[in-house]
C-alpha cells in the first residue's frame, strides 16, 4: 500500500497539469473562433514558411 504515497500525488499532478493547460487555452483566446481555426489548417497558404 506504500505505493499510494507516490501514485496519489502523481495522479493529482497529472490532472492538475491538464487543468492548467485548459486554463491556459481559455486565457489565450483559443476558443474565440473554433470554426475558423479548424478550417485554417486546410489552407496551404503558409505551408512553406510561417505567416510573417
Amino acid at each position: 500500500m506504500n505505493i499510494l504515497t507516490y501514485l496519489i500525488p502523481i495522479s493529482l499532478l497529472l490532472g492538475g497539469a491538464g487543468l492548467l493547460g485548459f486554463i491556459y487555452t481559455v486565457r489565450s483566446n483559443q476558443y474565440d473562433d473554433p470554426e475558423g481555426d479548424a478550417r485554417r489548417i486546410l489552407s496551404d497558404e503558409w505551408d512553406d514558411q510561417p505567416k510573417p
Binding site: 493529482l12 490532472g15 491538464g18 487543468l19 486565457r27 486546410l42 510561417p50
Partner: protein
Amino acid sequence: MTAQLRQTAAACPACVAAPAQVAEPAVQDARIALSLPGIHCQACIANVERALNAVPGVDSARVNLTLKRAQIEAVPDMQADQLIGVLEQAGYEAHELDPGALSATQTDKAGRDLLMRLAVAGFASMNVMLLSVSVWSGASDATRDMFHWISAAIALPAIAFSARPFFVNAWSALRVRRLNMDVPIVLAIGLALVTSLWETSLSGEHAYFDAALTLTFFLLAGRYLDHRTRAVARSAAEELAALEVHRAVRLTEAGEEQVAVADLAPGDLVLVRPGGRMPVDGEITEGRSELDRSLLTGETLPVYAEPGLSVSAGEVNLTGPLTVRATAVGQETSLHRMADLVAIAESGRSRYTSLADSAAKLYAPGVHILSALSFLGWYLYSGDLRVALNIAAAVLIITCPCALGLAVPAVTTAASGRLFRKGMLIKHATALERLAEVDTVVFDKTGTLTAGTPELVNLVDIPLRVAQIALALAQASSHPLSVSIASAATKAGIVPVEITDIEEVPGFGTQGVFEGQRVRLGRGAWVGAEPGTQTAAWLAIGSETPRAFLFHDALRPGAAEAVTALQRAGKDVRLISGDTRPAVEALADRLGIKIWQAEALPEDKAQRVRDLTDQGHKVLMVGDGLNDTAALAAAHVSISPASALDAARVASDIVLLGHDLSPLADACATAQKATRRIRENFRIATVYNVIAVPLAVAGFATPLIAALAMSASSITVSLNALRLR
C-alpha cells in the same frame, strides 16, 4: 489583448532581420470591424485576408469564421468604405460594424469565468470520484480514512472556488427572504461537506465529498449552457445594432463635417443625403425631396418634403438632399420617446414565471421539509445526532435539483441552436416557453409581411412607346418607384429611348426632352394628374393625358407560406397596419387573412393586443416599425425582422435574421416541442426522486447510490434534450 498579441507576433520575423526599422505608430491605429455574412469556408478566409492585407495602409486583418467577422488594424485615416469596396470586388458582401457596440462580446468575461469554475469542478470531481471508487470497492480502516481526508483536501477548496455563483445567488435570494433554486443547492452542498467532515474525523464509513463535487459540476454545466445560449444571442443582437453606424453630416460655417449622432445638439444644421435616415427630429430648412415614413407610421406612400416641414428621426430621405435644423436630439427625439410607451407595456410581461421558476417554487420548500422531517424522525427514533444528520444530508443530496438545473438549459440550448440555424435569434430567456403558448398571431403590414419595396403591377397595360420613355427617365433616378419601373421594364426586355436634358427635380420626379416634347415622370400633382389612393408614378408626354404606373408592395419572401402554415396550425392570424384601408384590404385578401384593421395608430395597436390578451388569448406580435414597438412589448411574445428599427428589435423577444418569413410557423412548432421536452425532463427527474428518496429517508442510501442516482438522472435529462436538435 488579442490585437497586441497579434501585433507582436506579426513584428517578430522582421525584428530578427531589421530590429531598428520596427517602430510603434505614434497615432492610434484605426480598428475596423466588418461583418461578412457570406463567408463559409477556408478559401473564403484566405481570400478575404489576402485581399485586405493587400490594401496599402492595412497592418493586419484577421477573419473570425465563427462570428463571420473581420477585424482590421489600419492606419488612422483608413475608411471602412474603401475596404468594403475591395471585398466586394473580391466577391464578398461586407458591412461596417460599429466597434463600440461590439466591445462587450470580445471579452466575454462571465462566460470565461464559468468555464474556469466548471473545469476546476470537473478536475476535482474526477479525482475524488477515483478515490471514492476505491472506498466503495472495499478500502477500509486507515486506507479509507486517508482517502477521505485526501478527498476533503481536494473538495473543500474546489467547492469554495467553483460553487461561488450558487453561494452568491442563494445569499441574494435569502437576503430578501425568498427561496430560489440555489438555496436547496447550497444547503445540500454545505450539509454534505459538514457531515462528511464530521464522519471522516470520526473515521466513519460514509463521506459525500464526491456527491457534493459532482453536484457542483453538473449544475455548473447547466449554468454554462444557459450562459452560452444567451451569449450567442446577445452577440448576434449586438451585431445587428452595430450594423447601424450612427453618423451624421453637420453643416458648419467651415463646411461639412462627419460627426457621431450623439454629438449633435439642438439648433445644428444637419445634411441628410438621399437614402439616408433622419438622425434627429427637426425642421427642413433647405431642399425638396420625398420622405419614406413607413417605419414610423406604416404608410407606404412617400410624403412630399419641403422647407418648413417637421421631420422625425427614423424617416428615410428618398430623392433630394435636405438640410434639417435639429429641434430634438438623442433621447429627446420622438423615436426615443416611444420607449416610454414600451416601458409601460412591458410591465405586464414581467408577470410571466418560467417553468423552471414554478418548478422551483414547488420543489424548494418540499425538499427542505422532507429533509428536516427525516432528521427529526431519526433523531427522535434513534436519539443519535450523527445518524440523523447523516440521513438528512443524504436526503438533501439525492433530492438536489441536479436534473432540474440541467433540464431547462439543455433543452433551450438545443432548441435555440436549431432555430438559430434557421435564422431566428432568441433574445429572451423565456421566449421559447411563451412562444409555445401562442394561439393568436398579429402581423404588421409594411416591412413585415411586405418587403417595403414597391412592385410595378400594370406594366402589361402600358403601350411599348410609353414604357420605353418611362424606362429612360426612371434609369436616371434612384427613387424607389423609379428603380422598380427600371427593373420591371428591363426584365420585360424593353429598351429605353434616347432622351435629352434629363434632370431630377427633388421631391417631384424626373423630366427630360423626347423628340422635342417635354416628358415628365413623377408625382401626380406635378405632371397634372389627379392622384388616387394607390401608390403610383405618372408619366406625362407633352400635353397628352398622364399615364399612371401603379405599384403594390412586394410581399416578403415566405410571407404567404408563413400565414398559411400558421392558420393550418390552428392559430388565429390577424393584420393590423397604420396604412390606408385599400392597401391593407388588398393585402389581407391576397394572403387570406380574415380579420384586419387599417389606419391604426401606435396606441391602437398596443390597445388591440392588450384587448386580445384580456380575452385570454396569448398573442404573438410580428412587427418592424416604430409604430409597432408598444404592441411588440405588450404582446405575450414578439418577433421582429432584422430590417426593423433598433427600437423595435429591442422591444421584441425574437429577431428574424434572414429575409424570409417562412421559419415563423416552424419556430412555433419547435417551441412547443421544447416545452414538451422540458416537462418530460421534470417528470424524469421526479421519477428518479420518487425511487431514491424513500431509500434515503429509510437510511439505506449510501454515497454510491447517491452518485448513481444523480449521474443517471442528469445524463438521461441531457440526452432527452438532445433529441430536439
